[in-house]
């Protein structure tokens, strides 16, 4: 479990904070991390990965600081950044040297992931396209078996079929104790997988909650005409997508992450947040 306690980070002492006052608990599961460009997503990923130390507050994994010098604590988390390069001629060469530090690494899962993406792992990294390099890296990262896996824009450069494969691999490779945080702008591509979300804007946390908690407070509706109770709605061709306060008499609806993201970046943001908090209290 990841705990953020009033976490903040500034790149320089007098500079504008890249992240400020973030307090959240992120339980095991797959979580969406969303926010506009420059909101602080990458900074948050760096803090959880332990490669940046909070300048305010704390960032904990299972009760101990994420930024640690102990190998057993460092290997709890792995970060796959958007344009990260792995050293080594091939992904197999890299895995042979790097996986020695990770006791939870599964060679079988690694090979199986590569095969799912149609790779052998012996392709020279230099000659791989951006998409294929990403597939090779994802195959490796998913096989590491780390407690926390941080994926920054994992679907970028992947073709439609590969996005579907990734969705399947994410669902099959992870166990109940693992936490995966997916930072992405393209919310819809993995939306059926998310167990929760962390949304940030302008260096501040908007909210962090599980799907269960959100659907207990908000209902996501699709209709032909707007619902009078709607806090937020979007008109699409032939239908209206809307968010209303959830009713206790109704079955909880599936969270439409894209709609929620759009609502939180619209003038109705405060109403949405108020509804979430009102029910909370």
């Amino acid at each position: 479990m990841i705990e953020l306690k009033d976490t903040g980070f500034s790149y320089s002492r007098k500079g504008v904070p890249a992240l400020s006052g973030v307090t959240a608990i992120i339980p095991p599961g797959i979580h969406l991390l969303a926010g506009e460009n420059g909101a602080g997503k990458t900074t948050l990923l760096h803090l959880i990965a332990g490669i940046s130390r909070p300048t305010e507050g704390e960032c904990l994994i299972d009760g101990t600081p994420a930024a640690s010098d102990n190998p057993s604590e460092i290997r709890r988390a792995f970060l796959l950044e958007e344009n990260m390069k792995f050293p080594g001629k091939t992904i197999r060469d890299f895995a042979a040297m790097h996986s020695r530090f990770y006791p939870g690494f599964s060679q079988e899962a690694f090979i199986s992931n590569l095969m799912a993406f149609g790779l052998t792992g012996d392709e020279p990294m230099k000659s791989l396209s951006l998409g294929n390099r990403k597939k090779a890296q994802l195959s490796y990262a998913l096989a590491l078996g780390t407690e926390v896996l941080l994926l920054d824009e994992p679907t970028n450069a992947l073709d439609i079929q590969s996005k579907e494969i990734l969705r399947r691999l994410l669902a099959n490779n992870l166990d109940d104790r693992q936490t995966v945080i997916v930072a992405t702008h393209t919310v819809t591509e993995l939306d059926t997988l998310f167990d929760g979300a962390v949304m940030i804007t302008r260096s501040r946390l908007l909210f962090a909650a599980t799907e269960e908690a959100i659907s207990a407070r908000l209902a996501f509706r699709v209709g032909r005409v707007p619902d009078p109770e709607e806090i937020y709605s979007e008109i699409q061709i032939g239908r209206v997508l809307g968010i209303t306060p959830a009713s206790e008499d109704e079955e909880p609806t599936r969270v439409d992450w894209r709609l929620l993201y759009s609502a939180l970046h619209s003038p109705q943001r405060d109403s949405i947040l108020e509804t979430l908090r009102k029910t909370e209290s």
Binding site: H46, I51, G88, H98, R100, Y102, P103, Q107
Partner: protein, 267 residues
């Protein structure tokens, strides 16, 4: 459970096995670098032993001994040559002290040994083969092996300060690491050069051979004057002590900064 993992059962305290695993992680690059460096130093050794005219030999000798320290100074650039892998490096589950020890052993011992030992052996061999010897080079070579311990320490500190500056740039800087490393090394070289010039002038003035030496046997002069100069330099204790102190402090600060960066794991 990963059967390949060597670190699963190791405690969190410092472990040489993890240092070896870090060395193995870097082996595709360090292996290639060592092969290149050994090949270059072998080439230098052949050139030192190549019978040629005295002037050509002196020119070659000077060039070779100017290039060898640069090879060692810029060796840490290997860490940046294949792109920015700093995130992967920072995420390696090993103690900062283990990464630190690997860097120091590799860049401060293995690399200098790979570039210096073969040419030095060639110089020693040169002195044993009268057929290719020139009197002046013979004297210079002989002096190389009989340098006073304090001057040898000064040489080691000069070399260490340049290597550590380059290594610090590779570990600390996020952008333009190669350029910053190269500029850092040149800055150190210029600073050391200025200090050396002041030291040399002070020694010359103090020793009283400012007017130079007039004689007919130029070979004898060169060897003699160098020997006199070196003797005078070792006797000029206050300047030598100042240089040693400045460089010693610089090396300690760089060692601390590198360790601090590795310990903080901050990008």
């Amino acid at each position: 459970m990963n059967r390949n993992s060597i670190t699963a059962t190791l405690p969190d305290s410092f472990s040489w096995k993890r240092v070896a695993a870090i060395a193995a992680y870097y082996s595709p690059y360090t292996g290639r670098q060592l092969i290149c460096y050994l090949a270059v130093s072998l080439l230098f050794a052949i050139l030192i032993l190549l019978p040629s005219g005295e002037v050509a030999q002196l020119g070659l000798y000077t060039t070779i001994w100017a290039c060898i320290p640069l090879l060692a100074d810029f060796a840490p650039i290997m860490l940046a040559k294949w792109g920015d892998h700093r995130i992967v490096e920072r995420l390696i589950p090993a103690r900062a002290s283990e990464k630190y020890i690997f860097y120091l052993i590799y860049f401060m011992i293995v690399i200098p040994a790979s570039v210096y030992l073969i040419p030095l052996a060639a110089c020693r061999l040169y002195m044993e083969i009268p057929a290719i010897q020139s009197p002046m080079l013979n004297e210079i070579n002989a002096m190389q092996f009989t340098v006073a311990p304090l001057l040898r320490t000064l040489n080691i500190l000069c070399a260490s300060s340049a290597i550590l500056t380059c290594l610090y740039a590779m570990i600390h800087c996020g952008t333009s690491r190669i350029i910053k490393g190269v500029l850092g090394v040149f800055a150190v070289k210029v600073a050391v050069g200025i200090m050396g010039a002041v030291y040399g002038i002070a020694t010359v003035v103090k020793s009283g051979f400012i007017d130079g030496i007039n004689a007919n046997d130029k070979h004898q002069i060169s060897a003699q004057s160098q020997e006199m100069m070196i003797n005078a330099m070792t006797e000029n204790t206050p300047y030598l002590a100042t240089m040693l102190t400045i460089l010693g402090i610089y090396v300690i600060v760089m060692l601390w900064l590198i360790y601090r960066d590795l310990k903080q794991r901050n990008l």
